[in-house]
Symmetry: C2
Subunit: 247 residues, 2 copies
């Protein structure tokens, strides 16, 4: 906290919007802040000799325990008014640190937004030292967010929608084996609209990126759906061109 000024690239931070999919719901990993009812995106600073991507990977590893993460920068947020100097000033006081006027944390920060796609079950949510909890929240039921984090989240979602046909979104968010209705719900959640079941299946099958397994998902209350897995090689190939058609 005191040495940050020497260790980190000045005036620069990054924030990560980490998406996961569970219970047929799209979720975002958030940190509960101390002494307020605000939540924050996991974020961090960039070491002086570190690439942005490495810094984001590091942050994600610390919050989720996952190493192999799909990460993508999507926007820089640089409004001079976005920095909350008061928050950091209070926080430093509480930590008993002499908050000089030019303390590195009290300057303006420009933040690079990254979004990440992770497999829900692989994640071990871990708070950082500025927060009291680290939890998944339903995308459509998110509480008060810190500073401009709401705006960052919205922009991430917008980007995710646009890139749905060009990024391995299903592959990164779903477990190895999944059912067609699960895949469809994922698409519906991201796009925010209902899709036709039959047309969805046909389209997905036509891409040739799925392998239907012989197993079915038992235990549900109804007809057992087939399990599928991705044919990764064909998926990657298909993404280069973009999956045909829009939703």
């Amino acid at each position: 906290m005191e040495k940050g000024g020497k260790l980190f690239h000045p005036g620069l931070s990054l924030d990560c919007v980490i998406f996961g999919f569970h219970d047929n719901q799209l979720k975002v990993l958030l940190l509960k802040m101390e002494h307020t009812d605000h939540w924050a995106l996991p974020g961090g600073f960039v070491y002086k000799d570190e690439t942005l991507e490495a810094a984001a990977t590091r942050v994600l590893q610390e919050r989720t325990g996952i190493n192999d993460i799909f990460l993508q920068q999507f926007h820089v947020f640089g409004d001079p008014a976005r920095s909350d100097r008061k928050y950091h000033s209070n926080r430093l006081k509480k930590l008993g640190i002499e908050a000089e006027k030019d303390h590195w944390l009290l300057n303006r920060f420009i933040t690079v937004g990254f979004y990440a796609l992770v497999e829900f079950s692989h994640v071990t949510p871990t708070p950082d030292n500025t927060s009291v909890a680290c939890e998944w929240q339903h995308l459509h039921n998110i509480g008060n967010l810190f500073m401009d984090h709401r705006q960052i989240l919205d922009k991430a979602l917008e980007t995710l929608r646009q890139q749905l046909n060009y990024q391995p979104i299903g592959y990164k968010l779903l477990p190895d084996k999944f059912t067609m209705p699960e895949l469809q719900t994922l698409y519906e959640t991201i796009l925010g609209k209902k899709l036709d079941r039959r047309n969805f299946q046909r389209r997905m099958n036509s891409y040739g990126i799925l392998r239907r397994l012989k197993e079915t998902r038992k235990g549900g209350a109804h007809k057992a759906p087939y399990l599928y897995s991705f044919n990764l090689r064909k998926y990657q190939q298909a993404l280069l061109e973009g999956l045909q058609g829009g939703w």
Copy 2:
């Protein structure tokens, strides 16, 4: 140059890829650097109390004389190895400035890439104080670029392609009145491939965003093509949904 450390946000720059269209060619505005055969993208720094967008607008205003500019950030380039400390160190020496080791210019810089679309005929190319010339260069015939500027340019072009159906690209790059073949050439240049003349016309007309004027472009060596102008209101509206179909 000496006060920069106090005026600017530290370790942060921006670079602009300025696209124009002339002679049925897509062009990029570049700066010729002193004492080398390298060219650079117009760039600059961000004042401590300035938004990124305002800084980019300022840079563009200075290089082109244009105020109302279409600008979009597209990527952050943050590789620690991208900064060319040697270049700045030499330059400072030549300027007779004592280049202390911690001079603000000699630190690592992270740069935000913006692309701009401008109407060629409105631009008055103006070099900055680090360059000896400011000129348009054909997109497909660009010389040696400084540092990672080639990479920045390529990424800008990639983004432009992806956003072709979602941004007012024709409107910003073409003069008020233009012909259908000109519009088509613009699309072909950006996409890097030939399109069918008849299908292109039909598609463009079907969007309902063009108004065919009664005039034709005379003076060409052949049949005089009609002039068109954009129906701006409908264009804006159509872009919200994205122009249908891909190329």
